[in-house]
Amino acid sequence: MVVAPASSLVLEVENLAAVRGLRVLFEGLSLRVSGGEALELRGPNGSGKSTLLRILAGLTRQHAGTVTYSADEHDAPHHYLGHADAVKPTESAGEQARFWASYFGRPAITATDALARVGLSQRTEVPGRGLSAGQKRRLALSRLLIDPRPVWLLDEPTAALDIEGRKLVVDLVAEHRATGGMVIAAIHGDGFVNSNTLDLSKLKAPANLEGLA
């Protein structure tokens, strides 16, 4: 896998603030995550985990502050998996995996292998609409494997997955970190081994690095 070596990969967030509607979700958020690390975003529903992830992915604009990745050989160093799975109802699972392989242009493993890894090898012919909730999630996870990118931004990656699927996510994250990758995941319930936690509910006041447990 072509991943930036652990030393060079750093995410630097400075003084970040997010506003939705007229509400300040958080402000003055600064943090630093390096390759090989995992950060769990925690906090009650509506505390801003998804918003933070979307800002880190460059999808939503922050109210203030900066986000900098130092993984310059990539024009887009991250994968973002949101609440929505980006599964097309009429395309079969296999077609969708193959599409992403050709879209990213430099697949690390074949679509077939990626589907096998996420446990969908027996469902390649099923159209997206026919996949169960967990199968859709697994199909979304296969994108992480198809294109190697140093930063994974995951919004509740284990949602809808069965016990074995949750273990799969934990394993994938561990493997990714072992090769120097970085993972930031919003998560309820069981987390990853050996990871840091940012509790967004504790940030509520004009918070800063204190929030990092």
Binding site: T90, S121, Q122, E125, P127, G130
Partner: protein, 246 residues
């Protein structure tokens, strides 16, 4: 899941239909050939229209058959919705392209006939011509729905609903000549009372019509068989895939 239940035991249908499918098709072809030969060479020329009228031996039966085909689909759709009999879905689906083809044939031969008779290929103000054209579009829409739906079960029901709604058109076609503005011939063959058409016209006409009917039955059965075999093949392929994978 009505579509499935038939495939659970389609052996009887498949065994029986094979003979009928080819039998009807062959009978139909023979009758049509015989009837058309009669019409073109034996029957008298029309005293007004001359030999141009001989096209009616194709036009009239194909128009009858297009309406019959649609009525057949309406019946099948009704059975499919009310009794959820799977064979009905397959039958309606299989009849549609054949009905559409006969409608197109009737439209084309009608136009060709219209050119010498009415001095125009097509007349927009004519209720019968227009309602037949609508029938053709309903056939197309019906087939489009089968194409567009992602599962055969959904497609079957949606298509059946459209088919039933479109049935309004059938009486319009038939009675349009009586109540609406039209150039077209009034009912001659299915009119009660006085004899309007002589036996010389009638015999070949009925022969061809019977031939069309048999051909329609034969082709529909062939289509149904192909449909069922395709589904079976797909199932086998899926089972193979499942076995290979685990």
């Amino acid at each position: 899941m009505a579509v499935m239940s038939i495939f659970a035991n389609p052996h009887r249908f498949m065994a029986v239909s094979k003979w009928f499918a080819w039998g009807f098709s062959g009978l139909g072809a023979a009758l049509i050939l015989f009837g058309v030969y009669q019409g073109l060479f034996i029957a008298p020329a029309d005293y007004q229209q001359g030999d141009a009228a001989r096209i009616m031996y194709i036009h009239v039966p194909s128009m009858w058959l297009s309406m019959f085909a649609y009525a057949f689909m309406v019946g099948a759709s009704f059975v499919s919705i009310v009794w959820k009999h799977a064979l009905a879905d397959v039958a309606a689906k299989s009849a549609a392209p054949i009905g559409a083809a006969f409608t197109a044939l009737g439209l084309i031969t009608g136009s060709i006939w219209g050119q010498p008779m009415w001095g125009t290929w097509w007349e927009w103000g004519d209720a019968r011509l227009v309602s037949v054209l609508i029938l053709f579009f309903v056939f197309l829409a019906y087939m489009a729905i089968w194409q567009a739906m992602d599962t055969p079960q959904k497609a079957a029901r949606a298509a059946a609903i459209l088919c039933l709604v479109g049935a309004i058109n059938l009486p319009v076609i038939h009675f349009s000549v009586d109540f609406l503005n039209t150039l077209h011939q009034k009912a001659t063959f299915f009119a009660g009372g006085e004899e309007k058409a002589t036996i010389g016209f009638k015999a070949p006409m009925y022969t061809v019509a019977l031939g069309y009917l048999a051909l329609f039955g034969g082709l529909t059965l062939l289509n149904m068989r192909a449909e069922i075999m395709l589904t079976r093949a797909e199932m086998l392929a899926q089972r193979k895939q499942a076995q290979a994978a685990g």
